[in-house]
Symmetry: C2
Subunit: 290 residues, 2 copies
């Protein structure tokens, strides 16, 4: 039944963002043979240029045929895909058991869509692998990344944020929160980190009586308990650092081992320049207590 062939190339299914390119670079560095199958309208232009093939997100038949032709050993999903339009879904009709199955997937969130894709790929014999398996250096490590360190107040805020994320974990929402002076000022829903940072802004800038304005707060981001490490990992990068600074925060804390750090060098450079800290913290929390 399995169509994944040992020794065959690893296929990157490329959605939006920097991850597909960074992953391809890392695989090249390691001398691991790979192919890029980019999704039109999602993958960035330079990814499409490097791609072996560019196709519609829901052209499932062609994707499977292509992977079989390549003798793919395994496949990895890289980069965000938002919900396809009903028109795009139409083309994928034949590849789902029935209309109800497709409808069920499309009427829910991206997570669901991605998990549906993973299940179907594996059912068709292609092992789905994640960043941890093929490019673990892209995942956050423990410790400070740049020159700045969180002060005592922010260390407290980080702990508050991690405890909140731990308790939110079973609810399949909220991989990020903002905490300022020990007080939670925003919890991420499906709107994403950037929008959450936008609204945290007005709570991060404190005006203590008789003293200058103080910027405060930290973005805390970590994977859910039971997170499928092959899809939709929490991610930060240079843009996250810029947005955190714009939101008046002092820094960013990320769960080590399960958060993607895109363009690490540039993220550190920006953090140092803007005076933000960027730290990897042990995650899940039990690791701190053990």
């Amino acid at each position: 039944m399995s169509e994944g062939r040992e020794g065959g190339p690893l296929v990157i299914l490329a959605g939006a963002g920097r991850l597909p390119a960074l992953l391809a670079d890392e695989l090249t560095r390691r001398g691991r043979s790979h192919r890029i199958l980019a999704f039109r309208g999602f993958a960035e232009r330079d990814v499409c240029r490097r791609a072996d093939v560019v196709m519609d997100l829901l052209d499932v038949g062609r994707a499977l045929t292509t992977m079989r032709d390549w003798g793919a050993a395994a496949v990895t999903l890289a980069g965000a895909v938002s919900r396809p339009s009903p028109a795009a879904a139409l083309g994928a009709f034949a590849y789902f058991r029935n209309r109800h199955e497709l409808d069920d997937i499309l009427s829910r969130g991206d997570d669901h869509l991605l998990r549906g894709v993973v299940e179907r790929l594996e059912a068709r014999g292609f092992p789905v692998v994640g960043v941890r398996d093929i490019a673990p250096t892209l995942l956050a490590r423990e410790g400070a990344y740049g020159r700045v360190r969180p002060d005592l107040e922010d260390q407290t805020s980080i702990a508050v944020g991690l405890e909140l994320l731990r308790d939110l974990s079973p609810h399949d929402v909220g991989q990020a929160t903002v905490v300022a002076a020990g007080r939670v000022t925003a919890i991420e829903g499906p709107e994403g980190t950037d929008r959450m940072l936008d609204r945290a802004r007005r709570f991060s800038i404190r005006r203590p009586f008789g003293r200058p304005v103080v910027r405060a707060g930290v973005l805390v981001k970590a994977a859910k308990r039971g997170q499928d490490m092959r899809v939709d990992l929490p991610t930060i990068g240079p843009r996250t650092v810029e947005n955190a600074a714009r939101a008046g925060l002092q820094g960013i804390a990320i769960g080590a081992g399960s958060t993607l750090v895109l363009d690490e060098a540039r993220a550190i450079e920006i953090a140092d320049r803007l005076g933000l800290y960027l730290v990897g913290v042990p995650w899940p929390l039990e690791r701190i207590l053990a």
Copy 2:
């Protein structure tokens, strides 16, 4: 030490919103003698008109003297007060132990400010009472308020929301959430319910493939565990119903016994007209399981 006198009037410290007026109406109906001390810039115009005295929020000295003159039996805090400006804080200087104490209160959230006020009032001998003590009919009861009932999908969503709020409860944030089709689409931070509803909107309107647009989702709102029932109760009213409808929701579920329902009759009328349900649910959750 106690300055609260039995038989003396109950003093309503009136901030923003409808609660002070509704409370005064209810006390009048019960024949309970009361006085209104309204805060300038916060209390609504009609409340200021009815008030026995209108003063600055932080004119603590005058407030205490006035309550002593009235021989107040107890005091209740009604309606929101946002953070006073540093200039306003200046006037209150003398009434706090020291600058640090005042600074500490002002640099945190409203909750903290209100809790600080309660502590100081009680320390000066005025018992602080809550809505549950003086006008329990303003609190949510169990069961459906209007004509509409939640369907099975929404009953699931309500349960999902209540479980989330239970787990968030120790974190002193989030008295409300929006759940659509069993999926959490927004969690309230200090931005408040109305802003949360705004951002929930785009997740509440589903477009299932080949079928008409479906509105989905419920606003679930309930008190924190350990909530001080004398300040800052979760509150809904006619405006909440209108905003929930605008956000594409099907209804509202509130924790019975600890959520304020302002202008109940008008809230029900609007809910019925817009086709939303409004239900009080047992809270805390242990009450359901017991």
